[in-house]
């Protein structure tokens, strides 16, 4: 039996450590977890997140990922980076990477390549665009396969979207106004039901 986030084993029983809905997955021995809503992110190994570069310290960049400590990212952890060929990263840049070390005793460490050395979509996020913060529950909803929200939005305008598990979303569309419209819809998706969302999008695409 797998014990997921929000639950902890204590002796023979289980203790609940977060408030939320209890979910169950029957496959493969069964798994239970608590689906809780929160905005504050705690770094977890293997999560893909968006970080903001706050400092360059020798060979290592310090990134703000929204946790209690800044994460470190080595300059060699990019695809095709060597000692001579350094990546062009400035303070204030956005980076999409994943955690290799993330526990409560150590400072988290990030990389922008996967285990085979390919970048697979990670790295420095391009210029312009807009970064904003939403709750973690909304990110998980958006990352679910065949998410309705994203399919409906893609009918509206073409845009680029990066979702970080730390609650950060980066959006870029052709014009600033289109970008802001998408930002507003994604932020409002927290509180809107599916019908309200469809109505809002219908009004927008009609105009």
């Amino acid at each position: 039996l797998l014990c997921g986030p929000g639950l902890r084993r204590s002796g023979a029983g289980l203790l609940v450590t977060k408030c939320g809905l209890l979910r169950h997955r029957p496959g493969g021995g069964g798994a239970y977890w608590v689906d809780s809503q929160q905005k504050r992110y705690v770094p977890v190994k293997g999560d893909h997140v968006i970080g903001i570069v706050t400092a360059k310290a020798g060979d290592v960049f310090r990134l703000d990922v929204g946790g209690s400590e800044p994460a470190s990212l080595s300059y060699l952890a990019f695809e095709g980076a060597t000692k001579r060929n350094r990546p062009n990263v400035q303070v204030g840049d956005l980076i999409y990477g994943q955690f290799v070390v993330a526990n409560k005793d150590m400072e988290p460490e990030m990389v922008c390549i996967d285990s085979s050395g390919k970048s697979s979509g990670m790295g420095i996020i391009g210029q312009d665009g807009f970064l904003f913060k939403v709750s973690l529950g909304l990110i998980r909803k958006l990352l679910a396969p065949k998410c309705e929200i994203i399919q409906e939005l893609s009918q509206l305008y073409p845009f680029e979207l990066v979702l970080g598990m730390n609650g950060r979303i980066w959006v870029k569309a052709k014009t600033v106004q289109q970008t802001l419209i998408i930002v507003n819809i994604l932020e409002a998706c927290e509180y809107m039901t599916a019908e309200q969302r469809k109505q809002a999008l219908a009004k927008l695409s009609g105009n």
Binding site: Q177, Q178, I181
Partner: protein
């Protein structure tokens, strides 16, 4: 009697300016708190339980409230009470903590903005107005709570949740009127001359994005005028006159000279020595 009090604050959610919200929450919590009553006879100390004797409030002398100001473009633009996004892109921050007796308790300036003295004085005037409003709100809320408890009605945190007064994860949506968008757009295109300063209805660029007003201009001068009108209305409040800036020499010099000679009577402030800040008239210390 010496008591040790600990105040813990849990941040549930925020959209910027945690300092101000936390200062209000802290001072209200302290004003609302009741401690057990104690009597000391020689060496004997008896602490009464809330059932034996009504608990006693703390003796709060004044309520300092923080007000934050965000500066942009090297001090050209000023925003009071910045939101999360404004905080992330601001150049500098000025926090002023004041009580309703217009006593400044804290000033803190951070960031890369160099501030002029008259900017700080104007900020303190804005702070005085805001603090007066907030203190009144706090007093009313405390009175309502006391009334509810006396009459046996429902009160407290648990009661505020169903009536949606405590709003975690709640955002007010701003309604944008998109009716007659094409007509409005046509009118605006037809008007070739620059638009007037007063806008009756929002200008809709695209659905979902609207603009009210014409750009952002530094309105230091306008602010000064409106503050002076408010100050003139408060009769007998000499603190307001003390905060007049350098424009005094232009207009009300006659009235001002009279009041400056009178002894300045302040409201129930418990400070012993009061220094009133005036530009160009700093109290000179002997060297």
């Amino acid at each position: 009697q010496v008591w040790q009090i600990r105040l813990d604050m849990h941040l549930l959610n925020h959209d910027g300016n945690i300092t101000d919200a936390a200062s209000i929450a802290g001072i209200v919590a302290l004003c609302h708190f009741r401690r057990p009553d104690v009597s000391v006879q020689g060496e004997e100390v008896t602490v009464y339980t809330p059932e034996e004797r009504d608990p006693v409030p703390l003796s709060i002398h004044h309520m300092p409230i923080c007000v934050s100001f965000a500066f942009f473009h090297q001090g050209t633009y000023l925003l009071v009470d910045p939101t999360e996004r404004e905080e992330r892109v601001m150049d500098g921050l000025l926090v002023i903590a004041m009580n309703k007796h217009h006593e400044i308790c804290t000033i803190q300036s951070s960031g890369v903005v160099m501030l002029l003295p008259d900017q700080i004085l104007r900020c303190s005037k804005i702070t005085a107005v805001k603090v007066a409003e907030i203190t009144e709100l706090i007093q009313k809320a405390l009175e309502n709570d006391q009334k509810a408890r006396k009459e046996g009605g429902k009160f407290g945190f648990a009661e505020s949740i169903p009536s949606q007064r405590i709003t975690t994860f709640k955002m007010e949506s701003a309604a944008v009127d998109t009716n007659d968008v094409e007509e409005q757009a046509g009118e605006i295109i037809a008007k070739a001359d620059p638009p007037s300063e007063v806008f009756a209805s929002p200008v809709v660029h695209t659905p979902g994005t609207a603009q009210i007003g014409e750009g952002i201009e530094s309105s230091w001068g306008d602010l000064e005028e409106s503050e002076k009108e408010e100050a003139a209305e408060e009769e007998g409040e000499s603190e307001a006159i003390a905060f007049e800036c350098e424009k005094v020499e232009t207009e009300d010099t006659s009235t001002l000279k009279e009041t400056k000679n009178e002894p300045i009577v302040l409201s129930d402030s418990e400070e012993e020595e009061v220094v009133i800040l005036e530009p160009q008239e700093l109290p000179r210390k002997t060297r």
